[in-house]
Symmetry: none
DNA sequence: AATGAATGAGCTTTCATTCAT
DNA sequence: GATGAATGAAAGCTCATTCAT
C-alpha cells in the first residue's frame, strides 16, 4: 500500500539471475561469519531476507549453491588480477607489483571473503569442490607471477631460480590472507600488504626499494 | 584366520589415556580425510575400530574431542620447533634454518595432518577454537622467527626491517602448507621445502646460499 | 479403499495454531497412556499421525512441548471451575458444590487427563515445570474453596476453622483423582464424586444433606 | 593405610543384603530428588558411593531395582500403620486417630519419600509396577479405615454411609501428601496433620473435638 | 564381590529437501 | 516465482547393560 510503485520490494518476483546473485552474496556473508559447517540453508535464506524454500528453488541443492558461490568468488578474483595485469603495462616489476597489490584490493580482501575462501579451501578433499573450481585459476595466477619473476631474474647470479621464487610469492600471499583471518582484527590489510611489498624489496633489491616501490 | 591369541584385541580394556590418544589420532585421520564438517563421531569411532558410544564416554562431547585433538596437534607442533631450536645452537642463521626445516619434518608435514590443521583454522570464527588453543603458539613461533631475523639483519642497509621479514617467512611457511594440501599430491613436501630455503637465500644472501645452505 | 477425496488429509498444510493444538492433544493422550518418562517425541508425532520432525518444527524442543501441554491443561481446568463458579450464583453452598462438581466434569475427569496431570505433578522438582505453570492456579482454587467455607462456617461452634477445612476439601479432591487413576477402572468417576459429596454432607450438615444435596 | 582395621570401608565387600538395602535407600533418595525419569543407574550408584556396575550386579536390571525399592517402601509403610493400629487398643476412635497419625510419622513423611511415592504412582500405567506391588496394601489400609468408620458411625442418623466416608479419609491423606510435595516447603507436615485432624473433628463431632482430640 | 571401560539401542535434535498453495 | 509447513534421514548424546579384570 505504501511502497512507491517503482521501488522493487525485496520479496517481489525477480529475474532468476538477480535472485541467484542475491543468494550467492548471502552465502559468502554467512560462510564468512559462521564457517562452512555452520552454514545452513536457512541461514542463507534468512540473510537474503527470503523464505526458506528459496535456495532449493533456485539452486536445487545446497551443494549446487556452494558450487555457484565458489564459482562466483573465483570469477571475481580472476577478473581482478587479470584487469590489474592488463593495466600494469609491460614492465615486469610493475606487473609483479600489480599482482601483489591486487591481492590486497579492498573489494576482495575483506574479512568475510577471506574467511569464505578458507572455508572452501579447507573442505577441499582430494577431488572436491575447491580443486575443481579454483584449481585452474590458481595455476594461472602462479604462471603469471612466474612470468614476472623469470623476467626480473634474467640477469641474476648463478643459482637463483625464478620457479621457487614465484612459488614463494604465491604462498606468501595466501599465507598473509590466512594470518589476516586468524589474527583479525589485530593483523590488518595494510600491515599484510606492507609485508608483501617488503618481500619484493628483499627478493629483488635491484627492482624494488626496501619498501617495495619500483626502482626506476 | 582368527586373531592370534596374543594380539591384544582392540576392544579390550585400556587405560583412559591410551584410549583418548587413540581417539585423537583417529580424529586427526578422519578430519584430514573428510574435512571438519564431514567428520562424524561414528566416523571417528569406526576409524579407531571402537564402538559408537566410546567418544562420548571418553570426551563427553564431539566438541571436547575436537578441542583435545587440536590441543594435541598444537603440543606436538610446539614440541617439534622448540626442540629444533634448542638443537640448533646459537648462530641465528642455523636457528632460522632449523625453524624452517622443522616445518617440513616428515612426522608433522603429512597430508592428513596438514588437512586437519586447515580444517581447524577455517572453522576459526573470531573467538573460536583455533585462536583459543593455538593462538599463543602462533605468536611464540613468530617471535622466534623474528629474533633470528633481527640478528641476521643487524648490519643490513637502511630500510630493511626484520619485523615484516619475519612475518613474511611465517606466512610463507603456512602458505606452503596450504599449497601442499590444495595441490596434493602434485606439490610435495620436498618441493615446498625447497621453496622455503630458496626464499632464505633470496632474503639473506649474506647468510644463505641460493639453495638455502648456511654460508660459513 | 483410497481416501475419499473430500476427507482432508491429515498431512495437509494446517495453520500453525491448529497443528500445535493437535500435537498438544496427542501429548496428553500419550502421557496419559505411557507416563511422563515413557513418552517420546516419536510417540506424540505418531499419535498425531504426523511425521517425526513435526514436534521440533512447531515447538523447538520436547521440553517446550511439555510446557505448552501443561499450560493448555491448566487453562482448560481454570476455565472450567471459573465458569462453574460464575454460573453458581451467590449462595456459598451452591458455589462450593459447583466447585466440587467441576472437578468431576466428564470433559476433564478422564483417565487420560488425570494420568497426565499426575505425570506432570510427579515430575515437579522444587522449582520445576508444574509449580511454575500450575502453582498459581492451585492457590486460586484453594482461595475460592476457602471463601465458601468461611461463609458456610460463619456461625459454627467455637473451634471449627474454615482454613484447614478448605485445605481438606482441596486435598480430598486431588486424592480422589489419584485414586481414580490408581484403581482404574474399578474406582470410577461417579463413585469418587459421591465420596466428595458425602464429605460435604458430613462437614456441613446444616447446608448439605448426607448425599451432598443443598439444603434449602 | 590409615583406616582403622575394624571400620568397614564402604566399598569393601558386604553381604548381599546390606548392599541391596544400601542401594534401595540411595534409589529412594535419588528418585525423591530427581524424579522417576531423571533417575539413572549411575545416579543411584553415585549416591551410594559405589561403582556404576553395582546395580546390575545386585539387581540385574534397573527395573528390578525400582521394583525392590517400591517393595521396600511398601513394607515400611505397612509395618508402620499395622504397628500403630496394634498399639492403639480397641477403641475405634483411637484406632482411626492412630491410622491418621501414622501417615504423618516423621520417619515416613519426609519430602524425599513423598516425592518417591508419587514418582512411582505417576508411572503407574494400568498393569504397571505400582498396582502390582502396592495395590494390595492400599486396599488393606482402606479396609482398616473403613472398619473404624463403620464402628464410629454405628448410631449415625439415617443417610450417613461409612463406606464413602472411609474413602474420603483415605483420599484426604493422599491428597495432603501430594500438597506437601507440591507446596514444599511452604506446606509442612504439621500443617497437613492439623488439616487431617480437623477433618476427623468435622466428620465425627461426637468422637473427636474440633482439633481432632478424642472425646472421652 | 566389585569395578569401570566398553557397547549399542534408542532418544532428541538438526536440517536439506519437498511440495501444496 | 515464491512461500513455509511438513518430511525423514542423519547426527550427537544418554544410559542400561555387559564383562574382563
Amino acid at each position: 500500500m505504501t511502497d512507491s510503485p517503482d521501488a522493487p520490494r525485496l520479496r517481489d518476483r525477480q529475474p532468476k539471475e538477480l535472485r541467484r546473485e542475491q543468494l550467492i552474496q548471502a552465502t559468502i556473508e554467512v560462510i564468512g561469519r559462521k564457517g562452512y559447517s555452520g552454514t545452513t540453508i536457512a541461514d542463507v535464506a534468512s540473510a537474503a531476507k527470503l523464505s526458506r524454500g528459496i535456495v532449493n528453488f533456485h539452486f536445487d541443492s545446497k551443494d549446487k549453491l556452494f558450487h555457484a558461490t565458489l564459482q562466483s568468488m573465483t570469477e571475481e578474483y580472476n577478473a581482478l588480477w587479470r584487469r590489474a595485469l592488463a593495466k600494469a603495462g609491460r614492465s615486469p616489476a610493475a606487473r609483479l607489483r600489480a599482482l601483489v597489490d591486487a591481492d590486497f584490493d579492498p573489494a576482495l580482501c575483506t574479512p568475510r571473503k577471506i574467511s569464505a575462501w578458507f572455508a572452501f579451501m579447507a573442505e577441499a578433499r582430494p577431488s572436491a569442490i575447491y580443486r575443481k573450481i579454483s584449481g585452474t585459476r590458481d595455476d594461472q595466477l602462479l604462471d603469471a607471477i612466474r612470468d614476472q619473476c623469470t623476467a626480473l631474474m634474467a640477469g641474476s647470479p648463478h643459482g637463483y631460480d625464478p620457479d621457487p621464487t614465484a612459488r614463494a610469492i604465491y604462498a606468501l600471499l595466501e599465507g598473509l590472507w590466512l594470518r589476516m583471518m586468524l589474527e583479525a582484527p589485530r593483523f590488518k590489510r595494510d600491515h599484510a600488504h606492507l609485508v608483501a611489498l617488503t618481500t619484493l624489496g628483499l627478493m629483488f633489491p635491484n627492482h624494488f626499494t626496501p619498501e617495495g616501490r619500483i626502482r626506476s
